[in-house]
């Protein structure tokens, strides 16, 4: 991707959007904060954007805003804003985003491609998080991966939560959508309760 920048003025001219729209979209996180690059010029401070990315995004917003509200759009864009990205194994290990153990386990279980697309990376990340915190064992990790693989296409699109319930040493793994209160029988214990969306956010900030 080219690193060419475009100034705010030129961007507004080129796309025909107004200041009001730009600020509104920024507030709704349709245009991520990190794309606003401040530079001082001879006329004072100006804001620049990565040209290719921002033009593509504005195009997308304009074509979708006829049918969707801004909030729906924000929803649609935020988990997938990283969807196109891919990450090489070495880079992930070097930057300590996930550990080698979980990458290997993932590779054995689900098959791994290098570079890794975002949705698969998310699965590794969740696995890694739970393994390193000591909440689950390797066997439970395998079970978790199966569930995540089943749900890959819908994961993160709504308020999914991941639950691990243990009874008499036997574990079940569940992915639930929008459950407020979960009541289990006395012998069972909810060992893990994790929001998928917060994992996505956490992963994105680490990247």
């Amino acid at each position: 991707m080219s690193n060419e920048l475009i100034s705010k003025k030129d961007l507004l001219d080129l796309t025909g959007i107004s200041y009001g729209q730009l600020y509104r979209w920024k507030r709704k996180n349709l245009i991520p904060e990190e794309w606003f690059i401040r530079k001082s010029t001879f006329t004072g401070q100006e804001t620049f954007f990565p040209k290719e990315k921002v033009l593509e995004r504005i195009d997308k917003i304009q074509s979708m805003k006829e049918t969707l509200s801004l909030d729906e759009l924000a929803e649609r864009l935020s988990p997938s804003s990283a969807a196109g990205m891919e990450f090489s194994k070495n880079e992930l290990l070097k930057r300590n985003i996930v550990t080698n153990t979980s990458l290997e386990l993932y590779g054995n279980e689900s098959g791994i491609s290098d570079p890794l697309p975002f949705d698969q990376l998310l699965e590794v990340f969740i696995l890694d998080k739970l393994l390193s915190s000591g909440d689950i064992s390797l066997d439970e990790g395998r079970m978790l991966l199966q569930v995540l693989k089943e749900a890959r296409s819908i994961l993160g699109k709504s308020k999914h939560e991941l639950l691990l319930i243990r009874k008499l040493g036997v574990t079940s793994c569940l992915l639930v959508n929008g459950a407020e209160n979960i009541i289990v029988d006395q012998g069972s214990k909810v060992t893990v309760r994790l929001s998928v969306r917060s994992c996505i956010e956490e992963l994105k900030t680490n990247l």
Partner: protein, 240 residues
């Protein structure tokens, strides 16, 4: 937020409690809550404090309340001398009519200021209305910004669709020499429809720009129209 089995927490006078989930929480006097608090209704009259994050449907600080953490919820009102040490994020409305201090950013659908508000970083809202003073350390971003100046206010940047700043009210009180300046100081203002008075800014960019009395602007860049009243100081202006 469901309130099925949750109880109420009421502290009258001196007292402290741990946090947790409640239906209604009232701190009258010097109540202290240690830990995160989640409730449907929160009210702090007196000098209460929450040492933790507060999650609330409708919250109000009328005395000198403190939240040492962040606030999330629906509506929140500061009527006395309230402070929140981290950010505030609301679905609906933020009212500040006393002196409110926010140590992080403020996000809400609507923000109304009648007293004095200090926001450390950004203030992001759909509609912003001030009849008081404000100091915003970052960007003030809103669809509609409507400011009536009393005393001095400032923000690092302002951006939105319509931005209106009204300066001193004319009339009887003009007979007395004012004790303090009426002025809004901003580095950069960007918007579509701009109407400014008593504003000091480095750069103003907009579609239709009207610069009113007692303004001091270094540079105005406009797209369609530009008008200024006599006495407004504009060092440079250009059509882009």
């Amino acid at each position: 937020m469901g309130n099925g089995m949750k109880g109420n927490l009421m502290i009258n006078g001196y007292g402290s409690s741990n946090g947790g989930h409640f239906d209604q929480v009232k701190l009258n006097g010097r109540g202290i809550v240690n830990g995160n608090l989640e409730c449907v209704m929160f009210e702090c009259n007196g000098s209460g404090a929450v040492h933790g994050d507060l999650k609330v449907d409708n919250g109000k600080i009328s005395g000198s309340g403190k939240v040492k953490g962040k606030v999330e919820g629906n509506n929140f009102t500061i009527e006395g001398h309230g402070s929140v040490s981290e950010g505030v994020s609301l679905v609906n409305k933020m009212n500040i009519s006393g002196s409110g201090k926010i140590g992080g950013s403020l996000r809400a659908n609507e923000v109304k200021i009648k007293g004095k508000a200090t926001i450390a970083t950004n203030c992001e809202t759909e509609s912003f209305r001030s009849d008081g003073q404000f100091a915003i350390g970052g960007l003030l971003s809103a669809d509609h910004i409507d400011v009536r100046l009393y005393g001095e206010s400032n923000a690092a940047e302002m951006g939105g669709q319509t931005i209106k700043v009204k300066g001193k009210r004319r009339g009887f009180f003009q007979l007395f020499k004012p004790f303090f300046q009426t002025k809004l100081t901003v580095n950069v203002i960007e918007g579509d429809e701009l109407e400014l008075e008593s504003t000091k800014a480095e750069v103003v960019r907009g579609k239709n720009v009207i610069i009113g009395p007692e303004c001091e602007i270094d540079l105005v860049e406009y797209k369609e129209s530009f008008r200024r009243v006599e006495g407004a100081k504009v060092r440079e202006f250009k059509k882009i």
